[in-house]
Assembly symmetry: C2
Homo-oligomer: 430 residues x 2
């Protein structure tokens, strides 16, 4: 008989689970996401840095799933889940399920200081990427306008909180942009004077990598002019900069790449989560006591393989999504469930052109070879879902000509008579 | 000796004036724009309709003018101009000039009902295009979610106020999208049921064209399912639709393509303007009594050629910009000023694939031929400033595969914990 599968979240986990269940007469899939697009997160920082356009790394979920008659997509917000009645409560009504797949991912976490977000946006969706691009480019515009050297220095100072892959990629991009690209565009300032800080609470950046690679990455960042501050926990963030204990950096632009926390849904449902809100799962990714409920991707806390939770990376989410889909199909055939095992695809981070680090099991390398590996892997996965004739060409082009990315500043407020100081205001003054 | 030229506005007029004055040791050009990009306005509606990306039709002014050492670009707002002291008052200080070129363009005008703007955004900049895209796509999402047929009808109703080229292009695009593209993406609604209205106060749409072509355009719109209401002046716009005298249309989405008004700067400066705020100019585009001040583009009211003001079109602005630049160079050589004469490039409007109208002096044609003419002309002018390897290919591709444009909805508010109902909200409810 017909099984109703509800999937919450259209990221790597949710999308791949849905595809596994596609084209089945006996399965009815409903995918719910608050965004209308699937995002290729690993390259989001390039949209923030204006090297890629939004359309290059995101595709509407509808387009991707249009071909499957048994999959319905809703853009909506899931408020809560009633595990007893097997009902999902959304902002557009209630939906019953036979199987539930939760893959809501994570958000930025300000360690209980949500007021910092206003001063230090994170990088998880297209709107945030656009906002970061706007702030970075506005800072250079303000620096070009001012005659006050102190103000200019502040405008040319960028602090990235958090030394994980995202923080490193952001810092590296700003370093490259300021050292190699922007100089010719400004007449009053020398963009090479841009100060870029990575502020990391731990003893070293890229803690997920081996100490050897993380120190290599630190050196590469330094060559791009990035100042790496480790053992530096941010104690306050305000409109003018960051406080690090008794040290302080005045900066017009602060970007947040530090903590993440899983969607609050776990808490809402009253299930067991770890400190960062990730839901503890069984060896088959199911919710303890609820074999009909699966958790996948960053939202899942899977500790059965290595003893510690699997990292929040695209490959993990992708494999978990496929596993969940296969497991549901297996259930319907009466098969016994297998355990989920993550096939380690290694990890990599890029710092700049010809600068990257790759770690694959015991294999470790960096430099140009690592960078090309990084590019090939990302082009491969990107084009696997961006079915556009020359996504590769365009992507490669945009990347190699970093300098020619369209660094457009789009106002936050579309209205012409808005309050936003960054935008049009025709009142007669002066 | 050194002449200081200040140009206000980086549109077709300002940009071309600046280029005319480039690479001169004896001229110092300062270009001020509130946006950081030059926009290819004629294709802006395609960004609103998600057929093109922002980067495809806009380029930062800095990139375009980077090669010219004597041109400085500031992103800023001009508050007022003191004609006596020859000083421009900006939000970042005062700038003196020997020559001033004003090319601030026009904004949308709500006939004294600015409160309508919230319900009916206009289409003049990238932020507005993004907002229109967001509203159109959100309407389809809401229609797919609801079970209430009245609400669904309202969500699938789009009213475009104004039957000029922009209004026709928007209506035609929505018609094409709903009739040919969207059907396969939605499971609960039939996008072909989308109602699209053009509400025009005058007796016919495209009043700038011959009656013959405007009636042809009306027929083409009808074939796409667009309902053309002429002699219909909007008397009120609210969150639920538009009032046209005693008639009313319930619509979730209302777009404004009606009146425009020139920048308030003319009023601020206390110079003579016409009813829509355009500054009256001499035969040499100078301000009466101020030969050192030029007005170009949509902001200028030039009546000396045809008796009526030249239309606000890119070709007019482009020619005026070049003329102003040449005239300043001529002044410096002591030449007598020539009158400005607009070399008629004709006009065209597109309705949809293979549907367009072209009017070139006494030559009039429509249909596929007109459409290809339209495409060629626009690709030619677009690529003349978008120096990207495959802008043509990409542009053509995006256009021909209208259906595959990335219809991304980017939240208005980038913040994760914002108040915006359209975005994430993790409070536990239901």
């Amino acid at each position: 008989m017909m099984k109703r599968v509800v999937i919450v979240g259209g990221g790597f986990a949710g999308l791949n689970a849905a595809k596994m269940l596609s084209n089945r007469k006996d399965i009815e899939v409903t995918l719910i996401d608050r965004k209308n697009y699937h995002l290729f997160q690993p390259l989001l920082y390039q949209v923030a840095m204006a090297a890629l356009g939004e359309g290059d790394i995101a595709t509407p979920l509808r387009n991707m799933l249009a071909g499957y008659d048994n999959i319905t997509v809703f853009k909506g917000i899931v408020r809560n889940v009633d595990l007893e009645t097997k009902t999902v409560h959304t902002d557009f009504g209630e939906i019953e399920y036979d199987y539930l797949v939760m893959a809501c991912g994570v958000q930025h976490h300000y360690f209980g200081n949500n007021q910092w977000e206003e001063f230090a946006p994170g990088l998880k969706n297209l709107a945030q990427a656009t906002e970061i691009r706007r702030r970075v480019m506005e800072a250079y515009e303000a620096a070009e306008r001012t005659n006050n050297p102190i103000e200019r220095k502040k405008q040319l100072t960028f602090v990235i909180v958090g030394g994980g892959p995202t923080g490193v990629e952001l810092a590296g991009s700003i370093g490259e942009m300021s050292r190699y690209t922007l100089s010719k565009f400004y007449k009053h300032i020398d963009p090479k004077l841009t100060r870029i800080f990575i502020v990391e609470a731990a003893g070293r950046i890229l803690g997920g990598f081996s100490p050897e690679l993380s120190s290599k990455a630190t050196r590469e960042l330094e060559k791009l002019g990035v100042q790496v501050w480790t053992s530096s926990a941010v104690s306050d963030v305000d409109a003018d900069g960051v406080q690090i204990g008794r040290e302080r950096i005045e900066a017009a632009t602060v970007l947040w790449a530090a903590g993440v926390q899983a969607s609050d849904l776990g808490k809402c449902m009253g299930v067991e989560t770890d400190r960062s809100g990730r839901i503890l799962v069984e060896t088959d990714l199911s919710l303890p006591g609820h074999p009909e409920v699966f958790i996948g991707g960053d939202q899942a806390c899977f500790t059965h393989q290595t003893g510690s939770p699997l990292p929040g990376m695209a490959p993990v989410a992708l494999q978990q999504g496929k596993y969940i889909g296969r497991t549901i199909l297996g259930d319907m055939k009466g098969h016994v469930r297998k355990q989920f095992r993550y096939l380690d695809k290694g990890q990599m981070a890029t710092i700049g052109r010809n600068k990257a680090i790759v770690e694959f099991r015991n294999l470790r390398f960096d430099g140009a070879l690592a960078w090309f590996t990084w590019i090939l892997v990302h082009i491969y996965y990107l084009s696997s879902f961006k079915h556009r004739v020359f996504v590769l060409a365009q992507w490669g082009w945009s990347y190699f000509t970093f300098g020619f990315g369209a660094r457009l500043i789009v106002n936050k407020d579309w209205r012409f008579y808005g309050k936003d100081p960054n935008k049009a205001d025709d009142s007669c003054k002066g």
